[in-house]
Structure formats: C-alpha cells, structure tokens
C-alpha cells in the first residue's frame, strides 16, 4: 500500500489538490560488502530498504532515526550523490515535479540539481578551506551559467545578506568563522541556485543551543519567503518535531512510522517511536516519569534480524514479529498516520 502524505494513489485526483513536489517510492540503497583479494561481493548492507514518502511544496518532512538507520543515505540517494557504481544497488522511484530523477543524465541531471540542494551537518568539512566564502557561494552560480563573473559578486552579496552575514565575509576564508556562521555560509550556497527543495542533513547538530535556535529560525524564514520544501534529517526529536510538518521514523533501513508532527508526539503507534520519545531528556526535572529504557544495541544493517527488524528489542513483540515484516498501514483511523507494526492499532 502506498500511503503518501498529501495524496492518494488513485489516478483521478479531485481538482485543487496539488501533486507533491517529491514522490519517493520503494527506495532501496544497498551497499556491497566485498571480501578477499578479488573483492567479490559477499553480501549487502541494506542501508535503505524500501522507503516511500512524499514532500509537498513549502512543506517540511522530518526524517528521524539513530545511527545506521539510513536517513542520511536516503537524502543522498534522492539527490543522486550516491550512484549505482562499485557494487552499490539502487532501486525504486524518485519523482521530482513529475520528472523521474533516476532517469536523468548529463546536462539534464545538472539542470535538475538546480532544484534540489543540500545543507550538510559538518560546518567544517563541508566548506573548502582553500576557497573564499565568495567563491564557495558563487561557484554554483557560475558553474550553471546563471550569471556572468561581473554579476556574481552582487548575487553573492545578496545571499550573504539574506543569511545574516556581512558582504565583507565574501573575502574571508571559512576558518575565520564560527560554527554557526559557517552553517550560514552553507545555507547561502544551497540557496544560490534558487532551489525548490533542500535536504537538510543534520544542519544544527554540531551547534550550541542558542545558535541552533538562530539557524532554525533562519531556515524557517527562508521557507516562508521562498516557498521552499525541506527534508529535515536529524536525530534530535524535539528539534524535528518543532520544525517539521510531518515526521517519518526510520529503523535499520525501514520506515517504521510516519505522521503529522504533533500526532507523532502525542500518539506514537510504533514501539520504537515510543521508546525514542521516552529516551529524549526533557528539561523538566520534576517530571519523574517512567522512562522506557531499551535494552541492547542497534543490530548491524549488514545482518538485520528476521521479520520486523525491531523485534529483538521490542517490549510488545509477539511470535509473528520474528518471522514476518509487518506492512505499513493506517493507524488510529487517521490516513495521515501510518506505522509498520503487527501489534498496535
């Protein structure tokens, strides 16, 4: 069943409901595990194992999960930063504004990149230390031929201003800036081509709390102003809940739950989501709540458990969970809320 956020899979849609900007269908990214002198493929790390979702125009879909769940791989696969080469297998469908992203190549793919951009987590590693800020932000514009060398400087100044940096920053190097400022540079670069959609891969995880708040507000303002769509990938649930319209939860390559942001928090339907929410430390010392502490470690994605991947750590697991992967189905009668669990309703 292909349950999406803003439309059904019925071909005759009622007029007035816009098609989502991004439609992802049964996405799979498998990395080959190679052993031995001849580098034969002995297995696969199923980093992304059948993920489907949509993102509407001007909407933010949050993608949460812990290390190894595949959320970063989803973002990179969508943008074709990971390609089927060297044993990597990618399957599924990614439609952006109706175009099949995986079918593009060469000049078409390059044109497509104007619409889909990315902001990275690491404000240190994602900026070339040997380029000035002006060159970093202006390079995409020049590469895509969107302005002449003479015009680029003005455009860069506008972008820097929009992210709250002085125009003079263009002449300096990344190391001269703080983490928060570098993240602003990364955002300016992502905006340079006037994209419709930005993958935000842990954009604030490396920042202090007060700077996080500044950057999140900036991203929100930009979204309102430019009608941007975001795929907001993070592990901090409170940040994701605050920032996203809908949230999808991943575990070991699978999408285990997806719902509007407030609904997910108030009424989670997957046991992993419940444990995740419970584990988040809350700044309220008097609330001595019963915390659910999950035992055990996250299994390796190269050797996932049979059936439902969460069953070894799940407090609600029944016999069926060990052998059969539950389908994603609507929970609680709310078509916007889906989860993959045999037990919860």
């Amino acid at each position: 069943m292909n349950v999406t956020g803003t439309e059904s899979s019925v071909p005759n849609k009622p007029q007035g409901i816009p098609r989502p900007l991004l439609e992802v269908n049964d996405l799979r990214t498998y990395f080959a595990i190679k052993k031995g002198l001849l580098k034969t493929t002995v297995g696969y790390v199923k980093a992304v194992d059948g993920v489907s979702f949509t993102v509407g125009r001007g909407e933010t879909l949050g993608l949460v999960g812990e290390s190894g769940c595949g959320k970063t791989t989803v973002g990179r696969t969508l943008l074709r930063l990971i390609e089927p080469a060297g044993g990597t297998v990618i399957s599924g469908q990614v439609q952006f504004a109706g175009r099949d992203v995986f079918a593009l190549s060469g000049a078409e793919l390059r044109r497509q990149r104007r619409h889909m951009q990315i902001i990275f987590q690491d404000p240190v590693g994602s900026l070339n230390p040997r380029m000035t800020v002006g060159n970093i932000v202006g390079e995409p514009i020049l590469v895509h031929g969107l302005a002449t060398k003479g015009e680029v400087r003005g455009r860069v100044a506008q972008l820097l201003d929009r992210v709250g940096l002085p125009a003079a920053a263009a002449y300096r190097y990344p190391h001269e800036f703080s983490g928060g400022q570098r993240q602003r540079i990364g955002i300016a670069r992502a905006l340079a081509l006037q994209p419709d959609f930005i993958v935000c891969d842990e954009p604030v995880s490396a920042l202090d709390v007060s700077i996080q708040a500044q950057i999140l507000n900036l991203l929100q303002d930009l979204q309102n102003e430019l009608h941007l769509s975001y795929l907001f990938i993070a592990h901090n649930l409170a940040v994701v809940e605050h920032f996203s319209d809908r949230v999808a939860v991943m575990y070991l390559g699978k999408l285990v739950e997806m719902a509007p942001s407030k609904t997910l928090y108030k009424d989670p339907k997957h046991p992993y989501t419940m444990a995740l929410l419970s584990a988040v430390p809350k700044p309220e010392p008097r609330k001595a709540e019963q915390r659910i502490v999950l035992a055990g470690e996250v299994p390796s994605p190269s050797n996932p458990p049979s059936g439902c991947p969460f069953h070894p750590r799940c407090p609600l697991a029944i016999a069926k969970c060990k052998t059969q992967m539950p389908p994603t189905e609507v929970k609680g009668g709310n078509p916007e809320h889906i989860a993959a669990c045999w037990v919860t309703k």
């Binding site: 500044q214 605050h242 430390p281 809350k282 700044p283 008097r286 659910i292 502490v293 407090p315």
Partner: protein, 360 residues
C-alpha cells in the same frame, strides 16, 4: 566553608573548588578560559556544569585533574581541594595517584579515548595496575567484574576485543568500566553521551545513576544539554565566559531561573510537545576569552539591566552572590543583589531517585 575532613561523612564535601583561574598564553594575549570559578561537590551527588562552547567548562574539569598542558596553560589562581587536600600544589607523583585512583574522568568521544591498537583488556588492566598492587590473574578478575558492573555481557570475550569492534555505546561503557575499576570517589563526566544515540544515551545515563547509588561516588557532569541536566543533576552551575553566573539545586534552577543567560538558554531549547512557530534566541555571540569586555560579560546580549544599573553593568562585572538561600547568581539587576553576600557556593542537596522501566 567547612573545615577539611579526612573521613568523608555525608555532609563533608568531596571537592571544593574556590576561585579557580586557568589561563592560556597565546600569540594574541592571555585567554582567561576559567576566570574565578567556585563550587562544591558532595558524595552521592551529581553537580552539572552547564554552558555552551567556549564557556570554560571543559577546561575547569581538566584543571581539577591537572590535565591542562602547562605551558601554554597555567593555574593562575584559586584552589582545588579534594577531601581537604589541596591539589594544585601536589607533587606530580602524588597527583598521579589521585588521577584514576581517587578522581576519574570519562570523555565525550569514546572512539578517540581508547587506544585502537590495544585490546580492551590491555587498557583496563593497565589502568588497574597503576593504582592497585595486584597480580595478573587478580587484575583480569577485577577487569571482568568492572565490565559486568557496566552491563557488558560475556566480559571474558570482550576483554579480548579491540575498540573498533565495538559500538559507540559499548565503548562508552568500557570507558566507564575503566574509570570505575579503581573505585574513585569522584567521577568527572565530560559530555559523556553527546556523541551517542538518544536511546543509548538513556542507557548510559541510567547506568551512571545506578553506579552512583551503589558507590556513594560524586559525579561532576559537564554538558550543554539542559534535558540531560534536568533528568540527572542534583545541583546545577551555569557557566558563561569563564565564570559561573548561576548556581542552585536543579529544581530551583528550572522553576526560578534568575540570570538572563539561564533564562535565555531555557527558552531557546525546543521542547517535545510544545507548540510554537519561532524559537526564542539569544542574539549575538559568546565573547572571546582573549578579550572579555569590561563589566558584565553578558551585557552585550542582554536587555534586563536598564538605567543606572546598566551603567554599572558596563563598568563592573557582577560577582556571584547568594541572592536567596541556596541560590547564587551574578547580575546587578537581581532583586536583593546589593545586600546579598558572596558566600561559597555549596549545596548538599540530592534529589529522590526514580528507577526507569526496563524492557527485556
């Protein structure tokens, strides 16, 4: 405050830090990373030192164990007393006995704190050997017991493994096992769970709480995560620009934050389940330790002080004073500040513990 005690009773402190100053000499001048910090840690208590990057909390914790590289660093002033004994002028040999044996430390990045070319067993046994006179077989037994205590199953096999064979959470447990192998009285935990996933973080923090209950150990918890503070700390010290700006029990701090920086921090943390479009932010940035402004170091980002008080704020840095019983803070505009005393921050408060619900 209290006279030095050689026997630790529940009310005599483990650690008394008074007016600690740790400075670094750099090409651009002196960086006053820790600039007059005072606090007291009692047995079976968790004191959280909270602040953002650059506030001096990590340098404070390194100073307690005299791990700061000198030069370019130097302990420019103040005192650190462990069970009544001054640490800052202790001879190196004595200090080595204290490190690990009496006061232990775990760090943020377990991946980089463990030596990748030695097995876990080698590393734990080395730590044991430094502080206890035991033979090989005894050391192995202690190491296995230490791993078991931190919830690592099959310890005999684990001792043979290398760090890269373990997950982040497992490595942090090993770090804790190493730190506790010699049964220290004080554990300094510098951002122990920041690099870990949230469900593993919950496990590790719960482990630390359990270990504290059974051992009477005091924990100095360094963190920037207010959620972690709320759930784990008994007493909280908020640091800003090398100084402590607020000090109170955890309940008091969250119920009645007084310093504008504390209030700002609490306000800009996104909370699960709370509606809101825009996050509150604290405008501006932390000042550089090379160039602290004259006067209150938070003044540039703060609008609370007005008029004559504002003028004072710009000229003179407010000291930390006890404005209400058990609540210290440093800002001229606090009601009752003028009459408050500069007493030594010390609270022996411990909160009631609630056990977490476990899954299998």
């Amino acid at each position: 405050m209290s006279a030095p005690a050689s026997i630790t009773s529940p009310e005599s402190p483990l650690l008394e830090v008074t007016n600690l100053q740790t400075y670094f000499g750099t090409e651009d001048g002196v960086a006053r990373a820790v600039d007059g910090v005072s606090f007291t840690l009692f047995p079976r208590q968790t004191l959280a030192l909270v602040g953002e990057s650059g506030c001096g909390k990590s340098v404070t914790s390194m100073s307690i164990l005299r791990l700061v590289q000198t030069p370019p660093g130097r302990y420019a002033g103040g005192s650190i007393r462990y069970r009544g004994r001054e640490l800052l002028n202790l001879p190196d040999k004595e200090m080595q006995k204290v490190r690990g044996g009496q006061i232990a430390m775990i760090f943020q990045e377990p991946m980089t704190s463990l030596n990748p070319v030695f097995t876990i067993g080698d590393q734990i046994i080395e730590a044991i050997g430094l502080h206890q006179k035991v033979d090989g077989a005894q050391a192995v037994a202690i190491a296995q017991h230490a791993l078991q205590r931190v919830g690592i199953s099959d310890p005999a096999r684990r001792l043979q493994e290398y760090p890269h064979q373990m997950s982040g959470g497992m490595k942090q447990r090993v770090m804790i096992a190493m730190a506790l192998a010699c049964q220290p009285q004080v554990l300094i935990a510098d951002e122990p769970t920041t690099a870990l996933d949230v469900t593993i973080q919950a496990q590790i923090l719960e482990l630390l709480r359990d270990l504290q209950e059974s051992s009477q150990m005091g924990i100095l918890l360094i963190t920037h995560d207010l959620g972690v503070v709320a759930e784990n700390a008994d007493v909280v010290a908020v640091m800003y620009a090398g100084k402590i700006v607020e000090y109170a029990t955890v309940y008091e701090l969250f119920d009645h934050p007084l310093h504008p920086y504390t209030k700002g921090l609490l306000a800009c943390v996104p909370r699960l389940g709370k509606e809101g479009q825009r996050l509150f932010t604290i405008p501006g940035q932390v000042p550089s330790p090379l160039q602290y402004p004259l006067g209150c170091r938070f003044a540039a980002r703060c609008t609370e002080c007005q008029g004559a008080v504002r003028e004072r704020e710009l000229r003179e840095n407010p000291p930390l004073r006890e404005v209400a019983p058990g609540h210290w803070m440093a800002t001229w505009s606090a009601p009752g500040f003028a009459d408050a005393k500069e007493t030594m921050p010390s609270l022996s408060f411990r909160r009631p513990r609630v056990a977490a619900a476990r899954t299998a």
